[in-house]
């Protein structure tokens, strides 16, 4: 095992026993990034100097005996998290030179515990996409198969874990943007309940859906990371003030009597046979562990994608208005007037997918269309939430595939936005319902592309999905498989 292969808890043990220093671990990680990222392109910015300084500081903390589980752990962040003094682009040309004056709360919480930032990760521009191909910094490639997409929008966050370029990463999930790339890259990805983690300092895409979460090598690491970033933030009115449990206490390896729901709407014809097979195997595994299965229905599932693309784009059209070239970000050099400055700065700064969503959202909110689109979508959203709440009256967690197919090839769906949008069909409803979900490795396709299993929990039911995901992980070996890189 190389240092860059270790999980948080494994590296922590070695740091604690002083078998290795934080500086050594960071050097190993930086060398690994150097050696592999030319092929993967998981990083937009690598921060070796800052990382080594932070690692040296972590070593001093360790020497003083002030060690936290994250002290000295090399982490990387999706480039949507504001990092003070470190360029934050959101993978957009419009922010290509933006150096934030403040830190995102979630990053600050990791930093205060002594985590070491090795760099900022590639993604779809403004988190709009399912393949990380819309980045202004070139597409990220899937470490399992460099011809394939890593998923998105947090493609860099998952690819960096699969390529062993960071011990843990943070991503954001608006319609599946953590879980889908985690599934495609064979890692664990957790999308917490809306309000569980602060959004302060995270560049907004769709404010009522965006949520911060970890991508990690195993479920224990996901529990550790979630525990570190979760909790009320006075700077985010939508963050919920409720105690943060020790999520590692849920790693009991016991799912006897756990009631798992299987929604008929998710096991559809057209599901990739390898994915179907992985799900069947997973169900058998759980049965063997003593869990019980219940057939359930989430009847409004069919409307989720349409509903999502109205609400998310509406919010995005407003959230992205601030990129106007006035105070920060890209501005044309030779504006002839105010309107020209607005139009050309935005035309040059935003990529085509971002423009498409701004236009869709602007349209959905326009006078005369608001009731038919935005308001109707909000009503549908309430129905989808109701589906989940009703299901959770009879089951503890819901099991579904994360995606209908394993990772597709780069370029395959770029020309067909609707096909691209449908790749999030199983993850979007969780965001609309505001509840939590986790993706765990559950197999490989015949040609070696990872397949993910999704467990959806009750609102603030992270402990239950962590328990269920952990038991599955312990009973299987998928998480131990490494991308051939």
């Amino acid at each position: 095992m190389e240092l860059f292969d270790l999980t948080i808890h494994e590296l922590h043990d070695r740091l604690k026993k002083k078998e290795v220093s934080a500086v050594e671990a960071t050097r190993a990680m930086l060398a690994r990034i150097e050696a592999t990222d030319g092929r993967v392109n998981a990083f937009i910015t690598v921060t070796p100097e800052e990382a080594l300084a932070a690692a040296a500081e972590a070593d001093q903390r360790i020497a003083r005996g002030e060690m936290d589980i994250l002290t000295g752990i090399p982490v990387a962040l999706k480039d949507i998290f504001l990092t003070r003094g470190v360029r934050t682009t959101c993978a957009s040309k419009i922010l290509a030179n933006f150096i934030p004056p403040y830190d995102a709360t979630s990053w600050l919480r990791l930093k205060e515990r002594g985590a070491v930032l090795v760099g900022k990760l590639n993604q779809d521009e403004f988190a709009m996409g399912s393949s990380s191909e819309s980045s202004a910094f070139g597409p990220t490639r899937n470490p399992w198969n460099l011809e394939c997409i890593p998923g998105g929008s947090s493609g860099g966050s998952a690819a960096a874990i699969a390529a062993r370029q960071a011990t843990a990463t943070l991503g954001t999930d608006t319609g599946g943007s953590i879980r889908q790339p985690a599934a495609h890259c064979g890692c664990v990805g957790l999308k917490p309940t809306y309000g569980r983690v602060s959004r302060y300092g995270v560049i907004a895409y769709a404010s009522s859906l965006d949520q911060v979460g970890p991508v990690t090598r195993d479920v224990r690491d996901a529990a550790i990371m979630l525990g570190a970033v979760a909790g009320h933030d006075p700077l985010d009115s939508t963050s919920v003030d409720r105690p943060v449990p020790d999520y590692t206490k849920s790693l009991t390896n016991d799912v006897k009597g756990l009631k798992i729901g299987l929604p008929s709407e998710y096991f559809i014809e057209g599901l990739d046979p390898d994915v179907q097979q992985a799900m069947d195997r997973a169900i058998e595994t759980y049965r063997g562990l003593g869990a019980e299965f219940v057939d359930i229905s989430l009847p409004h599932t069919d409307y989720a994608v349409a509903c999502y693309y109205l609400i998310a784009t509406a919010e995005a059209s407003s959230n992205l208005a601030r990129y106007d070239g006035v105070r920060f970000g890209h501005r044309v050099s030779d504006p002839t007037g105010l309107m020209d400055m607005y139009c050309r700065s935005r035309a040059e700064g935003f990529g085509s997918e971002v423009k498409r969503r701004i236009m869709l959202g602007t349209y959905a909110l326009s006078s005369g269309y608001y009731d038919a689109y935005y308001l109707k979508a909000q009503k549908v959203r309430t129905l989808i939430m109701g589906d989940f709440l009703k299901a959770f009256e009879t089951v503890d967690v819901i099991l579904t595939p994360v995606t209908p197919t394993p990772a597709f090839r780069i370029g395959e769906k770029v020309g067909d936005p609707l096909q691209m949008y449908l790749s999030d069909i199983f993850t979007i409803p969780t965001n609309l319902a505001g509840t939590c979900g986790i993706s765990v490795p559950a197999g490989l396709s015949r040609d070696g592309r990872p397949i993910g299993l999704q467990l959806v929990g009750r609102p603030f039911g992270e402990e239950e999905i962590i328990r269920a995901a952990h038991a599955f992980e312990q009973a299987t070996t998928w998480h131990q498989q490494k991308a051939p890189l």
Partner: protein, 479 residues
């Protein structure tokens, strides 16, 4: 044909909170550009608004003072438009569910009372300020100062119940008085703390269908409001008389020529694409919060006005003058609390005190004579220790150099002389020296009586009790 104007007003009140509505930055006026900003009010990526509780409290106060219903649940919404002084590309306001609704305000014009409906009151953030290239020190570029961005505003919207410019001004003055009384704004109109948009239309008298309205933007003095509305009414009537049609548009008032001119028409009107702001949770206000706020309300001007007349027995004029501002009323009430009789205190506050303040250009809160001192002075008059005239001298001394009235009276020997023996002595001397005038008086020329009073008062250096002087003079001259 006769025309009936119809007017509705939208008033923006800048709230006097220490910090902004959605961040902790100071709201102080006049700081150097962009020195009072943070990621939130600059609209930086990732920044999120957090509602200032004080703003809600002030909004509840305004709602209660205008008899509005306070919504147990209200929602902030985004008003989307692009402008360089608007950092986020949207203004956070309230739209479908405002905090206050269905209130009213009673006004009076030429002795006729009228109730004006208040449609709604909502909270919102202000925008920043543009500094254009022609301003000294800016060079060729226009600048943006975001110190004002995110300062809290209340928008108070009236029903179209006003029928003349005078009614509109009466409504505005009343509203201004109330919000200043509540202590929720400094009410400074020049600095824009209280500004108004007027919706004006005209219809034939007797009609019940409103005409097409024009909105006049951002008028910031009572005088200008009157001018703007009167001009606009006349303009619309002339237009209709000439066979034209009023178009729905936004107009600007030009104080230099007293006219309004078109700013943008209906076709250029923005589609603001309002929708609930997902960054802010719905605002829930408990009954307890409303009731606690109600208990903390100051006595409002209308109630005070009635009480001054009914309980203190003051005439309407006095009551109106003394309740005009909360500060003046507080000064007056402090005099009463220190024991001064109501009418005497009213005369002094409206007389000497107001005159002194006007001459010195001071606000009542900076009055050099404290209410307790004024009450002591009034007590000296009331007891007959000094005359009203001497009291004015003492008051001047207090105003100039400070000091307690009793001490000044003592030190300067200004105690009133009521001793008949002493006064008789003076009268005798004066009569002896002016026998000619004594004869004139006794011959029926009673006018010279004033001459004797003046002489006696002068001889006593003003200290003789005028009433005693009168009585004795009459007795001695008639003899």
């Amino acid at each position: 044909m006769k025309y009936q104007p119809v007017i509705g007003l939208e008033v923006h009140v800048q709230l006097a909170t220490d910090t902004k509505i959605f961040c902790g930055c100071s709201t102080k006026f006049g700081a150097s550009p962009n020195s009072q900003t943070c990621p939130v009010c600059l609209g930086l990526p990732g920044a999120l608004p957090v509602l200032n509780k004080k703003v809600v409290e002030y909004a509840i106060k305004a709602g209660l003072a205008t008899d509005c219903a306070i919504a147990p649940r209200s929602v902030f919404a985004r008003k989307n438009y692009f402008y360089p002084d608007l950092p986020k590309g949207y203004q956070i306001s309230q739209y479908e569910l405002p905090i206050c609704e269905h209130g009213h305000l009673d006004i009076e014009v030429d002795g006729v009372g009228k109730r004006i409906g208040i449609t709604r009151i909502h909270m919102e953030e202000d925008a920043g300020k543009l500094v254009h290239a022609d301003t000294p020190g800016t060079g060729d570029d226009s600048g943006v100062d975001l110190n004002r961005a995110c300062t809290p505003l209340l928008e108070i919207v009236s029903e179209p119940d006003l029928r003349s410019a005078d009614e509109a001004v009466a409504y505005l003055k009343k509203l201004h008085q109330i919000v200043v009384y509540l202590g929720i704004t400094d009410g400074n109109m020049e600095e824009g703390s209280f500004r108004c948009d007027a919706n004006v239309s005209v219809m034939p008298v007797g009609s019940d269908t409103f005409g097409t309205r024009a909105e006049i933007k951002n008028v910031n003095s009572f005088k200008f409001v009157k001018q703007a509305i009167e001009y606009e009414i006349e303009r619309q009537i002339e237009l209709i008389e000439e066979g034209g049609k009023v178009v729905q548009e936004t107009r600007l008032f030009d104080p230099n020529n007293g006219e309004t001119r078109s700013m943008r028409g209906k076709e250029e009107a923005h589609d603001y694409r309002y929708f609930p702001d997902p960054d802010l949770v719905p605002l829930v206000i408990s009954d307890d919060w409303v009731e606690d706020t109600r208990l903390g309300l100051p006595e409002l001007p209308a109630v005070k006005l009635a009480r001054y007349q009914d309980e203190l027995g003051l005439p309407l004029y006095d009551a109106e003058v003394l309740t005009a501002t909360r500060e003046l009323a507080e000064y007056y009430e402090a005099c009463l609390a220190a024991g001064a009789p109501a009418k005497l205190a009213a005369n002094w506050v409206m007389g000497e005190v107001t005159r002194g303040l006007n001459d010195a250009g001071l606000a009542i809160t900076a009055c050099p004579v404290a209410p307790g001192q004024l009450a002591s002075l009034i007590a000296l008059i009331d007891k007959g220790t000094i005359s009203n005239k001497i009291a004015k001298t003492v008051f001047d001394e207090m105003w100039q150099n400070g000091g307690e009235p009793a001490e000044i009276v003592e030190k300067k020997g200004l105690v009133q002389v009521s001793d008949t023996g002493e006064i008789e002595k003076i009268i005798d001397e004066i009569m002896a020296a002016n026998m000619g005038q004594v004869e004139e008086y006794r011959g029926g020329k009673e006018k010279v009586f004033g001459f004797f009073v003046g002489q006696v008062m002068r001889a006593s250096k003003g200290k003789a009790n005028p009433a005693v002087v009168n009585d004795l003079l009459v007795a001695k001259l008639k003899r």
